[in-house]
Symmetry: C2
Amino acid sequence: MSLPKRVTLIEVGPREGCQFEGIGDPTRIPTAAKVQLIDALAATGVAAIQMVSFVSPKQVPQMADAEMVCAGITPRPGVTYSGIYLNDAGLKRALQAGVIEISGKISFTASEAFSLRNQRRTHVEDAVMQRKIAALYQQAHIPITHGNIMAAFGCNFEGEIPLARVLDYIAELHEIAAETGSTLRSTSLADTMGWADPEMIRRTVGEVRNRWPDLRLTLHLHDTRALAIANVYAALLEGVTDFDTAVGGLGGCPFAGIQGAAGNVCTEEVVFLCRQLGIETGIDLAAMVQCARLAQEIVGHPLPSKLINANLDLPR
Amino acid sequence: MSLPKRVTLIEVGPREGCQFEGIGDPTRIPTAAKVQLIDALAATGVAAIQMVSFVSPKQVPQMADAEMVCAGITPRPGVTYSGIYLNDAGLKRALQAGVIEISGKISFTASEAFSLRNQRRTHVEDAVMQRKIAALYQQAHIPITHGNIMAAFGCNFEGEIPLARVLDYIAELHEIAAETGSTLRSTSLADTMGWADPEMIRRTVGEVRNRWPDLRLTLHLHDTRALAIANVYAALLEGVTDFDTAVGGLGGCPFAGIQGAAGNVCTEEVVFLCRQLGIETGIDLAAMVQCARLAQEIVGHPLPSKLINANLDLPR
């Protein structure tokens, strides 16, 4: 397998970062700052921006302004704006938010312990919820094309996740899609708590691809235990072309049980890696580093990105 | 090529870190703190510790206490203690320091611009110096077994370094060793300014190995541009078994022209990567993370290591 010629990055910093940074102080990142960051990101050449979560304002008050953020941005042609939701109420809000592009997406969590904390549902309850969401998509004439497995590589509460379970859950997502007459085209594997290592990535990607050769894979990687950029390289070696990344390395999961841990794999570091490997991202590296500096200003503390302080303006 | 079963890490944090942290304030890291860190590192299971530089106290006053550090530590059986030197005067000091294990080592810098800044010598002048050092080794009956190429992957002042030049300089080091009747057994390639990327690592290691199949390679990687851990993974894929690493990600090069840049690849992160990949390091990960916390206390500011804040005490 050779390295891909082009990859697509989905910028998840606004959603992940503002969700994490607002823990305990929901208005710390003002709506206007979120809008400013999203508009700046849209100008870097990034293809897609995950902006907000449509989740309970009681559980996650820092995302209570999701609709205001959607109304505030200046949509840029060619950029896809998305949001996440964990239940049917969230999907309904997303459908009404206007700028949000809804792709039919259903999701499982590979760790039951984490599912109970994050979604407050067992896997069996989650299957019921995903069918409810599937029915809503059907009503809205949106085909279900995308699957998602959270905590696909390990869990702080449950430990290692058997690959067989990940495969079973992807199969189950395929079944739910099929029940509505849809076919999954792509699936995300999320390393929600930073458990993946490069060989695990290669083994998992290989197995998923063996079983579903046409299924496009997206990786959502966290850098909690410092291996995220090595994991991206391993995934590139396996031909993976789609990654969620966060500007500045924003992020962290409020329900993962660790304070002070690193966030998502850093967008500008992945862009830099790709540039070095001759892989096109469509993103202007200098503009993305500027966005990371803006994000750092907004959150008011140093972000994990090493490129914020590195001098990239050097002789080639 | 499959992953190696075992790797050897040379802990360079005390030398790199104390050298870098002391810029502008040479006594900021007291001798006693250096000794404390070195003794703690020796208890982690690490095979070798690079403790000090025997360099001009005028140019690098923070290393003026090199002899005191050597006298202060409690040598631990099974641990090799080393120091670096850039000229014959430095080698003479190292030979007299007692605890320092001297291996016959000669060195070139692949960037002329950096050589002038760091060693204050052109390559031609450096070849004269290396022969002078070689003669000293010969007098001391120390065979010259180790070569070193600094700035082997790129230079902040000169840009990319042609691989052909690196190969030429390794060949020249072989010649100098041969003139004294010695044979180089190993060579370090140092990414002094953080220019390497994973494919560059693989190409370089591959070419060096093609030409000198029996030459053992050590990589000395900096994380200035965030790719160090991916570079270690790439090197492991090529079967490299020897790495210089720095606890906590200490380090940085005083003459590389960038402030605030990240240091060496982080020891505990490499140990963790190896643990995940089933590669033995002989190092107790928890003890090394404790050393990183000690190093962070000593320098008095956050170090780049992500594992300092990650919870490694999780279900497996």
